[in-house]
């Protein structure tokens, strides 16, 4: 026992410190919900022992879309154009299927200008963790309503929103995402569990994080303020994530919990809270969202999970090697093959 030794640094299962998962200093407002999301990402990737350089980060434009700079500096990041992170991420993930892709975007980015790409991304089930930092406003352009603002919400300047909200989770469920969740940037535990499940899920995960904008949408009259969300947040269930590498014997808890085994062998344990809810039942998920809207509740949890559907790599019948890593020998056919084709055309 040497007395001079510095205390050993805390590391995760691949020997990295939490420091290795950090990003640059945030330039977002103090108290912005988005910062909390970045913090959770740092923690979760650290805890899961993900190799940071295997991660690729994508975003569009907005305060939320700046977030990728504030976590995982050791991962490549791409701050693209407004509303089009989905296509950029799709291309990158197809170029290198070994990457773990994380998109962080905003409600304006996704549900307004980006809704076309969002809808079509949903149909592909490409493995990707797609996080919407949802504050019901355009933060970076200073507080206009977005498409996820609730009907009847008031802007900071007092204007009334007369458009009905577009629910990204509902679209996600209807159109083909295979893990769809809503949570709150202030709910550390739930957000962590959902992020972990999404990392373990080999398919498209949509995580709509209500992430208040303290500068433009945290006033009375807002339905996306910290106060409002805290008051109206109703958890659908309690979520536990049991990672595959932790050799824990899973006892079925009778009746009031359901286990979903994820692609990497991890288990998502869904514990009943008040109501019976089976997150693998699509119609149930749709119903719960409609009811929540009627009751003006912010229901959170994993609405829907489906581990059975083909992912996009399978649909495209792509080779296992990342396209970006294929050697010339495999990507350039022979002169003979060309001669044959030309001969056919003679």
């Amino acid at each position: 026992m040497s007395t001079t030794a510095v205390p050993p640094k805390k590391t995760n299962r691949i020997g990295l410190e939490v420091l290795h998962y950090k990003g640059s200093k945030t330039t977002l407002c103090a108290g912005c919900g988005h910062n909390a999301v970045s913090e959770r990402i740092v923690e979760v990737f650290y805890e899961m022992g993900v190799q940071p350089w295997k991660v690729a980060k994508f975003s569009g434009i907005g305060c939320s879309s700046k977030s990728p700079a504030y976590f995982l500096n050791l991962a490549h990041g791409f701050n693209s154009v407004h509303g089009r992170a989905a296509s950029v991420a799709t291309g990158a993930m197809l170029a290198n299927r070994d990457l773990l892709g994380v998109v962080v975007t905003g409600d304006g980015d996704t549900a307004s200008i980006g809704i076309g790409q969002f809808v079509h991304m949903l149909r592909r089930n490409l493995p990707l963790v797609y996080i919407i930092e949802d504050n019901g406003v355009y933060g970076l352009t200073k507080g206009q309503f977005s498409a996820t603002s609730d009907y009847g919400a008031k802007s900071k300047g007092g204007a009334l929103n007369e458009m009905h909200k577009l629910d990204c989770c509902l679209l996600g469920i209807e159109l083909g995402a295979t893990l769809v969740a809503r949570t709150f940037s202030g709910d550390k535990k739930q957000l962590q569990a959902i992020l972990k499940a999404a990392i373990a899920h080999k398919g498209l995960s949509i995580i709509d994080v209500i992430s208040p904008c303290v500068t433009f949408n945290d006033h009375a009259g807002s339905t996306m303020s910290y106060a409002y969300v805290k008051e109206h947040d109703v958890a659908l269930h309690e979520l536990d994530f049991i990672p595959h590498y932790e050799d824990i014997h899973l006892e079925m808890e009778e009746g009031d919990s359901q286990d979903v085994t994820l692609h990497d062998g991890s288990v998502l344990r869904v514990k009943k809270l008040g109501r019976d809810y089976d997150p693998t039942d699509k119609m149930a998920a749709i119903r719960v969202l409609h009811e929540a809207e009627e009751k003006q509740e912010v229901v959170t949890g994993i609405f829907y999970i489906n581990t059975q559907t083909k992912d996009f790599y399978e649909t495209l019948n792509m080779t296992d090697t990342p396209l970006a890593a294929l050697p010339e020998t495999l990507t350039r056919p022979s002169q003979e093959a060309l001669d044959e084709i030309m001969e056919e055309l003679r």
Binding site: H20, S24, T27, Q51, P52, W53, K54, A56, F58, A69, N73, L74, A75, H76, G77, F78, N79, S80, V81, R84, S87, V88, A89, T90, G91, A92, M93, L94, A95, N96, D98, L99, G116, Q117, H120, L316, N317, M318, T319, D320, T321, P322, L323, A324, A325, L326, E328, L330, T331, R332, P333, S334, Q335, L338, D339, I341, M342, E343, L345, R346
Partner: protein, 613 residues
Amino acid sequence: MSTTLTSLAREGGGAVPQRIVNDFSLQVATANGSGSQTSNIVLMRAIFQMGIPVSGKNMFPSNIQGLPTWFTIRASKHGWIGRKKEVDFLVAMNPETARQDCLELEPGRVLVYDEPLKLNELRSDLIMVPVPFDKLVGPACPEPKLRKLVKNMIYDGVLAFLLDIDMEEIHKALFKQFGPKKVKAAELNWGAAQAGFNWAQENVKVEQPYHLERMDGNKDKFIIDGNAATALGCVYAGCTFVAWYPITPSSTLVEQMMVYLRRLRTGPDGKGTYAVVQAEDELASIGMVIGASWAGARAMTATSGPGVSLMSEFVGLAYYTDIPAVIVDVQRVGPSTGLPTRTMQGDILSNAVLSHGDTRHPILFPSGPEECFSMAGEAFDLAEHFQTPVFINTDLDLGMNVWASDPFPVSDQPLNRGKVLSSDDLERLGGFERYRDVDGDGVGYRTLPGTNHPAASYFTRGSGHNEKAQYSERPEDYVNNVDRLTRKFESIRHAAPRPEVNCLDGAKIGMVYCGTSREAGLESQDQLMREYNMPTSTFRVRAYPYPDELNEFIDRHERVYIVDQNRDGQLHQLMQLDLTPARVAKLRSLRYYNGLPIDARSITDDIRGKEAE
């Protein structure tokens, strides 16, 4: 009053026509979706098989069925395969256009037509061959439903007789066209062709001047459309990622590419060494291409003008962030509900400056299938080496028409994947700065996501960064970065494909053009010399930014005609931006923009006219 095969007398025509061998243009006028495309291609292919230089150009409407279509076949012993302005020999099958088509012919030309059209009532100064197609098709095709399709094959037989095409060649071409899976259909059609031939042999007594004779002008050549050639070029360039959205005239590029990819790029595991995604629109397809390129795939898209317009914002981002992309623009007539089935070189200027802010993009201009193939490879090498979007501007004429092509050579050079640092490189170097101009060519070193090294990562964002790719709004960093991009563009000028120059002794004037204007340009050069004794040099630009050789060319000549297939003289306009005023002063702009492929005669007449001024 009319000249028909039965009358035999040729009135109004004058002397017995001179025999014209392997040098005329033949046009078939039908309706879209009537199956005439097959007959036309068979006809062209039979001529090709006879060793006669030949080209085929389809002028079709923007619909699927029923509107007028014209297919022009030109046979030229001199090898001129551009469009010929005049029609020498017309086959009129379409009641809707027959009268007009007939009236537009020069006197003395030949007109084969569907007998009920009674075109003989219109003019008496043509050589007319009415054919009772409907009578012939019945026996040839017992199934009434198929008659409409088979009817067109009859004219192949009639023309074989009239033009002296060996029926063997028709047979060969026809079975080639239908392929081994459709032998039955081929046989049916073969019957129809024979019926036409036999009928003509027995009934046609008129003499007409146009004839074909075997020669040896197509050695090693094969027939292919430009889109298929580009597709093959991309497959052989090791392209691994394609995202696209269908649009005429580029759809067949990707569609044929998918066929070739499946054939040539399926691994032993039965899986593809590529991904092709039909995206929801062009914004998504270019976004995917940029994402894929960024992550290390050789990525491309193919589209036409409307698609490029939609890609505008993204292409600007790729320019500023040094991301490769290959964009094939098969140009058509603008705007979006314009004339999608007519040809134009109309996107040159807008592609060169695409996107807001200060931007400039290189463009390659293939002139035929060989270059479609080879420039695909060059485009990927340029894009990856210079980390920038590269356009390949073909056009409808090149992309959708079939051409006789020389063999494509597979490059023996390794692919130029550009300045990509591996984890070993990083270990050795200890790190890197993404946007530092280490080599003075304006191109920094990059790493790919997934590179297993703690120094590998960097953050990609528009122009708000310093050399280390760190966030910066400092004025100096912005200037520094965009000046590097200017330097990069200059580097590209020297690396891009060199021009095709053909200087004639004693030429005081020159002609500059690009892409599909080549054939008309060279033919016009010949016409000017032969007909007017005006030696004219030619210079084919093969890439933008323009080569330094262009300066020399201009300096060598008194006047230089810039030939553009668009209204505004876009090739010329980019020169106005690039060249010294003294050189610009020597340029004269010639513009052709009616949506038809350019022809030599128009250029010749215009240059003659201007020179006479």
